[in-house]
Structure formats: C-alpha cells, structure tokens
Assembly symmetry: C2
Homo-oligomer: 242 residues x 2
DNA sequence: ACGAATTTGTCCGTATGTATT
DNA sequence: CAATACATACGGACAAATTCG
C-alpha cells in the first residue's frame, strides 16, 4: 500500500504519442535519411498538437538521432547512428565509476569477444590492399610512438580498416561507440595516456603479421594479447592510489 | 538591433547545453539511478532557463533513459539502459527494410560473433545448477514445440541464463536489445513464425549437451549451427515473394 | 473517502536568432 | 542588403496525475 516514494515503479514505457506518430510518418512516407521533414507548424496541424508538444517530441527523436534539427532551416530524417548508445553508456559508466570500474570492464570484455571473433572472419577476407593499408597504419603508429605521442586516431582507423572487408556497417559503428565511451571516460579519470606506446604498436604489428600469413589462430591470439594489454592498463590504475 | 556590448552573447545551443548541465548535476551530486531529481521549477531557477527549455532537455534525456519522468510526481535518474539502442536500431532497420534486409543481416552477424565467443567463455564457468536450468528450458521448448506453438520467451530466457555466469550485465542487455530489434521487425514483416520449431529445439539441446560435456569447440559449433538456422529462415524469406 | 498541495503535461502568445533567397 | 521562413527561447495559464493530510 504505502510504496516508498524513493523507489519509482518500473512501469511500462508509455512514451510520447507524438514521438511515435512522427516516426510512423517517416516510415509511411518512405522518407530516407537526409530527407526534409514537415516544419513544426505543419506537424502541429497534421498531428493536432501544440508547437511545444511537437518540439519536445522532436527533441527526443533528435537525442536518438532519428531526426536532425538544423536551426533556421528545418528538420531532417537522421541517420539513426549509435550516438545514443555511446551517450547512454558513457553516462552509465560515469555514474557507476564513483563506486567501481565494473561498467568499464564489461564494455572492454564485449569489445574483446567481438574483435576476437571478427578477426577470425576477416582473416580469410582481407585483400592485399587492405593489408598494406594496415601495415602503413602500423608504421604511422611507430612514428607517433617514437615521437613520444599517443595515437588514438590511428588506433581507431586501424580497427575500422581491419573490419571493412566484412561489409557490415554495424560493426564499425558498434566498436566505435564502445571506443568512444572508453576514451571519454578514460579522459575524465586521467589515465588516458598509454604508458607503453611501443608495446601497443607491436601488438598491432603482430595482428597484421598473422593476418598477412593468413594465420587465423595467430590473429585471434594477437588480438587477445592486444586486449590483455588494455586490461592491464586500466586494471593497474583501478587498484592504484586514488 | 542595438545589442548591448557588455552583455555576454547568449550561448549558442542552450538546448543541448541544459541537457549537459542536467547530466553534470546528476554526476556532481552523486545521484544514483532511482534518485529523485530537482523539480522543473527548481531546475529553471538553478540553470537560469525557462521551463520549456528544461522540459525539452528532460525529454531528450528521457529518450536516452538517463532520466525517467513520472507525471504528477517528479523526475528520477534513469537506468541508462540499452532501450535507446533497440529503438534506434529498430527504426533504422525499418527504414532500410523498404530496400533490403541488409540491416537485419548485420545485426544477426554481430549477435552470432558475440554468442560464439561468449559460449566458449561460459563453457568453463557454468555451474551444474545453471546447466540443469538450461536443460529444463530445453524441455519446456520441446513441450511448446509439440503443442505446435512458438517459444520466443523461452528462447530469450535460454540465452540469458546461458551467459549469467559471466557476471557481465552489459552482455544480456546488448543481446536483449538485438533480440528485440529482430523480433519487432520480424513481426512487422510477418515472418515471425519459426517454420521448424523442432529443429530449433534440437539446436538448443546440442548447445547444452556440448556444454555439459565441457566441450568448448562443440559448443561453439552448436551455436554456429543455431545461427545458420536463423539465417536460413530469414534469407529464404527475403528472396521469396514480397 | 475526499480535498488540497505538488508536480508534470499541454497550450497560447510573443520576441529573437539564424539560414536561405 | 533586405525579405522571408524557420527554429529558439521566454513567460503565463490551465489541465491532468499523483501524493498526502
């Protein structure tokens, strides 16, 4: 009877009706990403609601990257990217980070499982050109490491190039979202710097070497070693002094 | 026209700014999921913006499940679940489905890579009790199949139980999101029915049998076969008549 | 059981900034 | 540069939902 006010009931998500109607409108009219949506005034009339309700619905859809609002011009159909996933995971990780680093380790484990499985599949798909691109990226990493700097963008590009031959657009987006969360949170914590860039470079080189030899098992092992390195970096810090 | 020079120019994107400020407020005050947020009136005053701006920001955060709004009571810190991912992926898949089923196949491939890797890891972690639970679920599936019905909930529970010993909460949420997208879209297309439930049951039984024998390779093979079955189901339909 | 207080939901009107033409 | 169309923001008012005395 007297329910604790501090505990919200987990009721089924009612959601905004207007929100769903706008989504349905996009689907019904076969609008593609980039297409222009009706203006707020038109949506007011078509859906029979006020401007405020339309705006709140559009704001919610914008947060999901389902629509894209351009100030002074109009509203477009969005790309429905994984930006909301990255935003939500970042927030959740930061909230939980006050207690422990579990959320971060969970993300890392998912990345590891994904990439170990993926590297096996691309091992037989990669073209010579792609292998050359990967080797070039490793050389660039080496130069950056010799200069004493970090190379987050090169790392990102490496993994993106690695899985291009799959032809699966969801894969780089998903990995990119995880990568973003990890780096954003790491930046807040202060342990964004790679303590041993040269080791990281050789991990990447090992992966390419195994792939060049079409050594599926070796590529998976190299990828696993790569993640062991990342785990050691974050694990060492989480047990260190605050 | 006559803009006062000493007055600081108003921030460009107040909307997303308020959004970030609310998130920062949650982090600064160490609010946990379920905690009550300041009321809209209080946020207006604290952030120095109008109520509409506050509401639009809260609506956007609600779409990301970062806050949870209850009419007539208040606003809570949300769970930051993967509901936005499921919503976004569902929308993207539906939009693209007018052309092809590529988005759906991409999701399936990610699920497959994930589950093949995960089943290897749980093979050495599963307790006898969890194995018994899995066997019980397979028996229930068999009963449902004999009765001629489908068993989407049993399938979902099977995969959830399978990875419980990992202790990774992100894994079931991620797989659940993918599963939701797949089933929601499948429902729209009309090919939700499993044409051969008995085959699906035996795929699951094969997985449990291999796991009971602690046969890592066999478990992965069984999982791969399981997904071959799902691919065959959807692939056959996508090449069939409209 | 009922009403008051609180809080969110919706609407209207108006003024301003911004991009396109 | 001027005009236009559009999104952005503010303030006020009332309705609906929830809680609690």
């Amino acid at each position: 009877m007297c329910r604790m006010p501090q505990e919200p009931v987990r009721e089924r998500r009612v959601g905004s009706q207007v929100q769903r109607e706008v989504m349905q409108l996009i689907l019904d009219r076969r609008l593609r990403p980039g297409a222009l949506l009706p203006t707020e005034a038109e949506l007011m009339e078509e859906l029979g609601v006020s401007r405020n309700s339309v705006r709140e619905a559009l704001k919610a859809l914008q947060a999901l990257d389902i629509v894209e609002i351009r100030h002074g011009y109009g509203t477009y159909v969005g790309q429905a990217s994984l930006t909301p996933l990255a935003d939500g995971l970042t927030f959740r990780t930061l909230v939980q980070l006050a207690d422990d680093t579990r959320a971060l380790e969970e993300i890392l484990q998912v990345r590891e499982v994904l990439e170990e499985g993926l590297v096996r599949r691309v091992a037989v798909l990669l073209t010579d050109e792609e292998l050359s691109q990967l080797e070039a990226l490793v050389r660039k990493m080496e130069e950056a490491a010799d200069a004493g700097g970090a190379f987050p963008e090169l790392d990102r590009e490496f993994h993106e190039t690695l899985y291009r031959s799959l032809g699966n657009e969801l894969v780089p987006q998903l990995l990119g979202a995880f990568w973003n969360v990890f780096n954003r949170v790491a930046g807040v914590r202060g342990w964004a710097r790679d303590p041993a860039p040269d080791v990281t470079v050789s991990r990447h080189r090992d992966i390419v070497t195994a792939l060049r030899a079409r050594d599926v098992e070796g590529a998976q092992r190299a990828m696993a070693d790569h993640f062991r390195g990342i785990e050691a970096r974050s694990g060492q810090e989480s047990r260190g002094v605050g």
